[in-house]
Amino acid sequence: MRILTLFVRHGTAKYTEALDDLRAFQRRRLPEVRHDMLIVDNGPEAPSPTPGAEVIRGSNRRWEFSAWDDGLAHVGARVRDYDLVHLVTSAFNTLYTRYIDRIGPALLEEVAGRATALGHVDWYNEPVELLGYPGQAWLRSSFVFIPPAELLTLGSLVGCTAEPEIFSGDPTSPFRPEAPVSPNYRRYVYDWLTGPGTGQGVTWHSRFVLDRESLPFFQAKAMAIFNEQMLAIRLRLQGCAMVDATWLATELGTRPSTRRRQPFPHWRVQLSQRDTDAVPLPPSS
């Protein structure tokens, strides 16, 4: 199996261990895989050479999403020579990380060549709406495996470019009243970045007070969240299943090896069937 890793960083001052951690993961969990790595550095300085990987400069126009676009443009048609593309950011080893070591060759074999994206499924307690599209769950985009065909069909990993329609420019009420973002989604984003989180008992490690000075960062971070959601929506739109790594590891560990391939169940079912950190299905299910 061949995997192309597109590792996005913003200079090397932050998350200094990320690249070593990623390589340790590759050695530990995927020793048989042929890895090629392209680093896209979004930092303002000229990127420093890194042994064992090609480094290119990213535009940072849409953070990691435009960086992956930059990386894919650099690789060009060669991307089709890979079984999977591993999208990684330097923040991959933060927040919930237990799913990472569930990923191994068996999981990747299960998804390679199928219309699937493998990673960690996060969700909101309620459905939200963005640009008119309904959504509720998404793949954490800091560590996700996607077949090249799906990336080629997406065209760009940037799915939301609507800042002028979304943001008001007023830190006391950062979203325009008519923004194509449902009210509950605005609240989730605001609470995640500045306050108590999204009602799931987790808070963000870098939350901040929203004021005029921090407004640009708020907007950029919100756009990254929206692009992460849009990535999930657009993948579903093209028929690409979101597969939760913990669920798939559970499934492969319990099902007979001779069982034929099955369609991947709905994300709610996947999350309820995780062997660790399961999320109960709502009673109506």
């Binding site: 890979y82 079984d83 060549g113 309904p134 065909a149 299943a241 034929r260 299910s285």
Partner: protein
Amino acid sequence: MKRNGGEEMSLVGNVLIDLEGRPPSFARSYLADLQQQLGPANLDVRWRGGELRDLPPGARLLRHPSAADSITSAGLRAAQGGHLLVLLAPLLPDPAVLHALGGALDQDPLVGFVQPRFGNALGDGVWPLPDGPGAPREALSRQSLSLLPASYLTTEQLAACILVRRELAAVFGQAPGGPEDFRTAFALQLVHARRRGFRNLVLNRVVVPTPEPPEALYPRLDPSSRRRLHSLCPDAATAEEWFHREPSHRRERLVSVARRARSGSRLPVLLDCRGASAHHNGTSHAMLGMIAGLEAEAPRWDLDVLFGAEAGKYHEVARRFPSINLLTGLPDGSYAAAVCLNQPWHLSTVADLHHRAATITFNMLDTIGWDIVYQCNPEVEKAWSFIARHADGLAYISGFTRDRFRFRFPVDPGVSEAVTHLSLDPAEYLNPATTNLPEGEHLLVFGNHYEHKAVGPTLDLLSRAFPFQPLRAMGARSERSRNIAVLESGHLPEVEVDRLIATARVVVFPSWYEGFGLPVMKALAYGRPVVVRSSPLWRELAALTRASGRLVEFSVPQELVLAVGRLLAEAPVEVLSFGGSLGPGSAPPRWRDCARRLIELVERTVDRTDADRWLERERTLRLAQL
């Protein structure tokens, strides 16, 4: 979405589902899943089985004996709000898909219905649109999705998931005596909608994954239902024909073949060698050399090689290349690439390859056929103009040929080009049976009877200038003088030709115009002095070879006589220097290197496969009625 009064309503408020024949337990579970997936929506379930209890809220069973009544009933509900989603198979479309389908209805007010594509939830593929009975139902590679246009606007087509515009659903209805079968009745509604001016939009990048088989996703009416539909509306058959003749079906299949789903997949390639004759000539030699190079290079191709039966037998292709799949008739299959190893003489040759392959590449040997007119059919100008504009790849056996072709037929920037050359390695021209033979007495004039080969005038000149020098001539029509022996070009055994060349005191190759000049390379390989008519070609080739022979140019007859005289007298002559374009220590290109360049070119065309380019070519060929 808002109605005229401004009241909010859901985009897809109503779903008509055909669950006839499904077990009750399946139907219950499916309807619960569908309700969860779609949220609040009216589910109208066409159902003719037994009791079905515990339905989710919003679901109602349509038990009308008449299919038309069921459709009318669901349509009337749709009129109350939202478009009507019709599911002919138990699918669970993602809400984002429904949003996209609904949004597509806004693209044009006369798009009446929208349908997604269907993916195989158990594998990699996307099911092709129905292409008539008996057409292949092999799933398309998902890599091809990115190359398709965002949508197709078609005539009506039954599919397992269709979103019907609310205004159309609201007038669903049927006169008494209409079809009783649900699908036929629904198909009839689509026909009437089209008659009102509404078309069907297929969204190519909106995909519903499902384990359902393609037969369930694109249901075909049984023959009696089709006859019934066609008797009610004869234009339904016309619309069907329009749908099936859409070039998109073939385009999708070819693009899919060109896109390897996973790394390691082999590329299906057709090598067209129908231009080889059943005798020895430069074209056949070049083709056989290229095939040998391909065999040695062993690209990740599934290679089919097409020869005319007679030529294949004459050149013993099957014996020489046991590993290749030899064909002697045009195949029916689909290929990622087709490569014609000689220039096409007819547009029909181009069409043959275009219909079978996503990309087409032609190997241009020379342009002389068009230049000299008299030996060429008038079609050739069309064929070459066409490939200069519409081919995916053009290979040239020399930079000289490339420049001549480009000057005569300006090449579109979308055409990938490469000069592959033919082998320039002397070792590949030597026959062990004819090496190390002692030099003979004869001077060899090489060519054939075509006027540009200039064999006749050269013989006249040399026999007058050197009346006691034995001359042998390949390609002259008659023996013009006592010191001339004429040999028929083409049918002499190859070993005899080699012997003539290997033992000649001097070889004269007086052609005005060559694309490469294989006999020159052979004579140089045997260490013979070769006199050629001055051309940029010889400087190009000399710079890429290191041979033991000597290459001498002449421009006018006097220079030819002088050069031959000095060579016969073993006096110094001005020769072209060898190897100027070869780096230190680098060897001249072998057949394998030429094949590698061809492989790179062909794979580049496949990498650049542009479904629109194929379609443009198809449209142009259709205009030419090919």
